[in-house]
């Protein structure tokens, strides 16, 4: 599991290989996420072959984060007890080397989660995932989106993403029509995906959990994040081809994540 830093291996080949590893290892993915998407997120992970566990009280989240394969902290619906669980889990993950993903949902305009996001950012998340508005707000630039929408473009945020990656020492991924993934040195753009992903709640949030699953089986964070984006957005394309609308799309996406092959990924990947 070297990842595509090795010249002769493409990002798509690496993603195909890591997909096999996720299914073989079935990594335990600890999720502290919002009430809206928690069911969809668990089903996405199960379909992919990972083992989700939603442990979101502070008395349990620290111990669990230290043994999990990966951790997702998603800031939507940040109830007080869940916020405490996030802090405990992030510290435990940092202490025990558990790779962890921070998804700063709708920060900027909303005060509690914005402050918490800045605090968590300083603990050095392995991966930060958000839309352009959120990545700008996490860096203290811009003031976030309207709710969970993306109003800033990925390109405008790419400079900030590189800076943030250098500060956190991890990867920053910006979701958009073309996804941007950077570790501060290397930058990858993935042009796969489908507009229907923005019409299903959790379309983005669940991707954060998939990143945690891939990070559990691959130490090169850029390779892991890119693989997660490729597998997820290509599955979304397969789902969209069969869907009549966002309802059937969500169902087909789960099915596609269950059946997608490494060949599908290699054949359809659009990496720049």
């Amino acid at each position: 599991m070297t990842g595509f830093a090795v010249p002769e291996k493409t990002a798509a080949q690496s993603a195909a290989e890591l997909l096999t590893w996720v299914r073989r290892e079935s990594p335990l993915v600890h999720c502290i996420t919002n009430d809206v998407v928690v069911n969809f997120t668990a089903n996405v992970l199960l379909a992919l072959g990972a083992s989700p566990a939603m442990v979101d009280i502070p008395e349990e989240s620290g111990g669990f984060a230290s043994v999990a394969g990966g951790l997702l902290i998603n800031l939507g619906t940040p109830h007080a007890e869940r916020r405490a669980a996030m802090e405990v889990a992030a510290r435990a993950a940092a202490d025990h080397g558990t790779p962890w993903v921070l998804d700063p949902v709708a920060i900027g305009a909303l005060p509690v989660r914005t402050a918490l996001a800045h605090q968590l950012r300083d603990l050095g998340p392995s991966i930060v995932r958000g839309n352009a508005s959120e990545i700008l707000a996490l860096a203290g630039a811009g003031n976030g989106g309207r709710g969970v929408d993306a109003v800033s473009s990925v390109d405008a945020a790419s400079v900030v993403a590189v800076e943030t990656a250098r500060k956190t020492g991890g990867v920053v991924a910006i979701s958009g029509p073309v996804d941007l993934i950077t570790d501060g040195t290397r930058t990858v753009r993935v042009a796969n995906g489908h507009e229907l992903l923005t019409r299903v709640t959790g379309g983005g949030c669940a991707l954060g959990a998939v990143m945690a699953a891939f990070a559990a089986v691959e130490q090169d964070r850029l390779a892991a994040t890119t693989a997660a984006v490729l597998v997820y957005t290509i599955a979304a394309e397969q789902a969209a081809a069969k869907a009549q609308g966002p309802g059937s799309f969500a169902v087909e996406l789960i099915d596609a994540l269950y059946s997608i092959t490494g060949d599908d990924v290699e054949r359809r990947a659009r990496v720049r």
Copy 2:
């Protein structure tokens, strides 16, 4: 956007027009709703073209309610922190002119939510939505249903609905085989819908969110509420025609809300 108070425009024509407005404006709909239906509610709004945001902590809900296009307060699973968020949000909505919907889920027998419903009612919700039992209990008559079931008939509650609408200065909508919508002066009955709506959790709750979306683009609350009921219940009929049971019905309903046209609404509306 005048609504069907204008004599020459029918309720169905108004609904078709407002559907276009919801899709064009994509209003930000702030939802404080219960854990059971929050995912389905967000997906209903996204399918329709609105922008849902579930902001349910008191430190964030006031500021958000003052900038949102519409607000839904649904009393299911009323955890303490969420109850505080509801009060703050309702006051902010009232102060800033944000239209807001109160859905007094299962009040009557259950003490905490019943007291809270009465308190929120006195803040003057723009729209109250419930089944007959809940509308009776909100008025202090009857003692609510068994859980979230409707045991009182819509007709028995219609007099109380008119009285409640006069007191709140808003609209009251009673869900049932025939929906009744009144602003205390004008009363509309909509005979669209399907029995499968009662076999999917959130079938009624999500309608409250749709009402908030329509109220965000139409100041005539009766027109907005009627449009929401028509679009939602006609989409339900379209979904039921394709469904094999409540599982596929829920999926088809999301798809139908995505694809329903103004023509569909005008052709199928059964308004009395």
Copy 3:
């Protein structure tokens, strides 16, 4: 409604009969369950013909548990307020003779829920449902699974299940490739089901709610639990035959629970 203790009635015949009763009586099933599966659980109960009500605050859960037909307490996402609601509800159920199901999700490694599970166990749940790891951990043997996975075999746990049933005075059901159900004296094994049930979050949790629904219409706890397992796992087989993956499986399962007949149950039951 005697159940299959009567020699001439098989477990499958009893299950078919009880299915009719659940649909006729539409028992009110009070659920205190986790955020991940609460929507799916409600939809499973509605599809089956029962009336779910998710009442999970301590001020409301006691009164509700005393009037409900059955109660489910599921320990996933055990937030402090919900834990308090569980204790109040379990005591009320015990006091008022409401049959109640305890599902000790992921206990063993996770401290808060493990302590709570032991406390609730001592209140004498009518039915305990879990995988082998959880049943072992509930008895104080083993130390639970990794998250919500089952790592101990059903057979290894069967002796412990019999002991636990004798201590609680209720039924213990272990989910696995072959489900084991015992009341400490009689033991039934059900070989129905499908692997896809483990690929949908709530696949097991929702079964606990179904057990509460059947227990609401049948005093013989072993017959009620066996009927719940048979109806649910046979519906899962019907769903799997139509599904393309876990996404469509979950949808088909809801549809199957809506349309499954007593004949289906009698024809397909594999009881040992």
